[in-house]
């Protein structure tokens, strides 16, 4: 069960955040040549430059998380007046704009070759409301809706664009080891998840791998929540 990505060039964005580390690890183990970009891609032109420098890309893993300064999930108060314009702009800058731009930059080469996979790591949060996360969910909702349409547009060109939406999966941005070291915090999450446990990054990476290979050949613009049954 290896070599599933032999000979494939894969670009992973925000490779040091969120689903990036487990995806990079698994995809390399499966034989891919992985370009692991840690640019935040928050400036217009960054995504175009990254893609131009990368050359031919078979698979784009459009993984975005941030901003780094944002409080982890449990610190957000349920207070609709607490979020500021700056906070929302931060989510747009790090989650939405880079996704739109990097997808736009990479699609032409894939369409020209009539082959390519885009796999986005977004979130299941727009599938089920989490009080306190209104502006985060807005940014993730923008991602999911964007990808659904681009998936429909790209499909007739032989290019598959799909997303997986993690929720309640350990990662270095929103469910950090530090947070989960508190048994009460961990328990408060686990009690909500039908599977009774948090997910592991490598479990999400396996789903990303499926979407980067044959399992997505007839999927187009599909979001697959991965959340231990929390959101389906």
């Amino acid at each position: 069960m290896s070599g599933r990505l032999d000979g494939r060039r894969v670009l992973v964005t925000h490779a040091d955040r969120y689903m990036g580390p487990p995806v990079v690890e698994l995809f390399r183990a499966e034989g891919a040549e992985v370009l692991d970009s840690t640019d935040d891609l928050t400036v217009a032109g960054d995504a175009d430059r990254l893609v131009a420098q990368a050359g031919p890309i078979d698979v784009l893993v459009a993984n975005f998380a941030g901003p780094r300064s944002t409080m982890p999930v449990t610190s957000m108060l349920v207070d609709p007046t607490a979020f500021t314009d700056d906070a929302f702009q931060g989510y747009l800058d790090e989650l939405v704009w880079p996704l739109v731009r990097v997808v736009r930059a990479v699609l032409p080469q894939m369409i020209e070759r009539r082959a390519g996979k885009i796999v986005a790591a977004t979130s299941a949060s727009p599938v089920r409301a989490i009080p306190g996360l209104s502006i985060y969910s807005a940014a993730r909702g923008a991602q999911n809706a964007f990808l659904q349409v681009v998936g429909a547009e790209a499909a007739p060109h032989g290019v598959q664009v799909n997303a997986f939406g993690p929720a309640h999966i350990e990662n270095n941005m929103y469910y950090t080891d530090e947070m989960l070291a508190d048994p009460a915090v961990r328990e408060s999450f686990e009690s909500q998840i039908p599977a009774g446990r948090l997910g592991k990054g490598h479990e999400a990476a396996e789903l990303a791998l499926a979407l980067a290979t044959g399992a997505s050949d007839f999927l187009a613009g599909q979001l697959i929540p991965i959340s231990g049954g929390w959101a389906t």
Copy 2:
């Protein structure tokens, strides 16, 4: 069957666009005092000022459409590289930011009174992909995801926040009389709609009225597509 909004003060945003005109007409006929704002609310601070000047508001109809310069639906090409940063920023400026800001501005007074209704006119487009509308759908997806969470947050305070999502309903922004004067264009829409016809603005206004009155008393963050069965 009148007087359903007697004594209610209603603020309608973008009152001259999209679902604004039929909502204003119906809500006035039902006895409401309607404040019909035609500000575009694209500048930070606009929404706060509007709400401060409006005074007590029982119902906010958060209706947004635009920008006015945007091509109507059928003119958009299925070309993922055609949309520009400016076009997406335009949608964020006229659809997403004003919604976030006006909801944030009006919620405190409603929560304080433990009473109030927010009814948003968004779109069903994130429910079903329309090729060519990726960035429009992204903006509408942000709206829907935002409202879902705010609806959950506001519910325990006795305030109901919900949305209806028009698709294939005649309006002065996206399905204009001018566009629909072309029988081929009209037919291309009608053939996709199970109901076999486009919807009328007053039909959406009736749903908005339901959401502004007792029908939403136990709804929270619900999006109701209204599209003649096109998206369910």
Copy 3:
């Protein structure tokens, strides 16, 4: 705010169960002539006979709950082997078959008149999994899927078929006064509902009224969960 159903003949099935009592009360208060059937409609031919005897019907409220012998929600164990063929057959007999048959019986007269509303009281349970309710959810899922298609089929004939899906609403079948008299049981429900409370039957009846009147004129096959934000 009365007389919204003046001159309308309304047939309510299982009128003494679930959403039946509050719907009958509200619809009568709004001026309808309500035929409140308490037949269980479990035998082939029952639905045809009921509709034939009823004569012209403007609105069918297809409300089904049962069987009466079924344990209330909290008594069901999370044990996939515990449910029997008999239990599932019971749900098919009281929830699914009567719905299919009564809708089939009433549609021809509505289609002939090019006017009519069917409002089904189903459930939000297929929208969000409740461990322990697999076969109940299967039956409700069959209802929802059936109505979605019939709604699309009926729409071009001027007949609107839609559903509301209660969850966590007090009723005499699944959330009985007896059950809720136990504070621990009540609290276990309330803690899961964003609104922080159980819904009341009359709140669901208000949504049913909206679907029986103008608010549904451009809806077709729509399911509207009503659950205080629990399922959206």
Copy 4:
């Protein structure tokens, strides 16, 4: 890229119908020992016997289609009065009852071993209404709702239950070679699918394989439509 199912015992039901043939072929190519049952499993007790005889099963592919006598998709008229009790009973007998019973029969051994995968081949039709298919969609809706709950129930026991929902994929029951030999019929389907083509059975089998292996380790009760973007 082979051997992904080495050493696994897989039971495939209705193995000669629908997604059965491509699943059997791919799973064998990946090293599985495949038990390909062609029983229709319409009689109470059949499923229990099948599972008892099969012995230890690592993966159940719960694939059901039928009845064989049913008209193919395009032959169904949009006529809500045309379907009979017999037709609906046929769908219940061949699609719903065998699924409920075989899942119920196989779960205990998987739960005991704290390992196992159930992958169901259902349908995307409940996700998007197809006029003419109301009772078929009801049966598929029952399947999907059932699996969603069972998935939540089984997850804490280390057993993953998920489904893929084909639509517009060539198969020997609903989209037969015979039907598709008519260019007008083929074109009428293809024009509705964003991908611009019908799917192939082996594409669905690849998704089934993903769900039978690591990609589903943190999925629970998930339905993944596979339809070239038609339903998402």
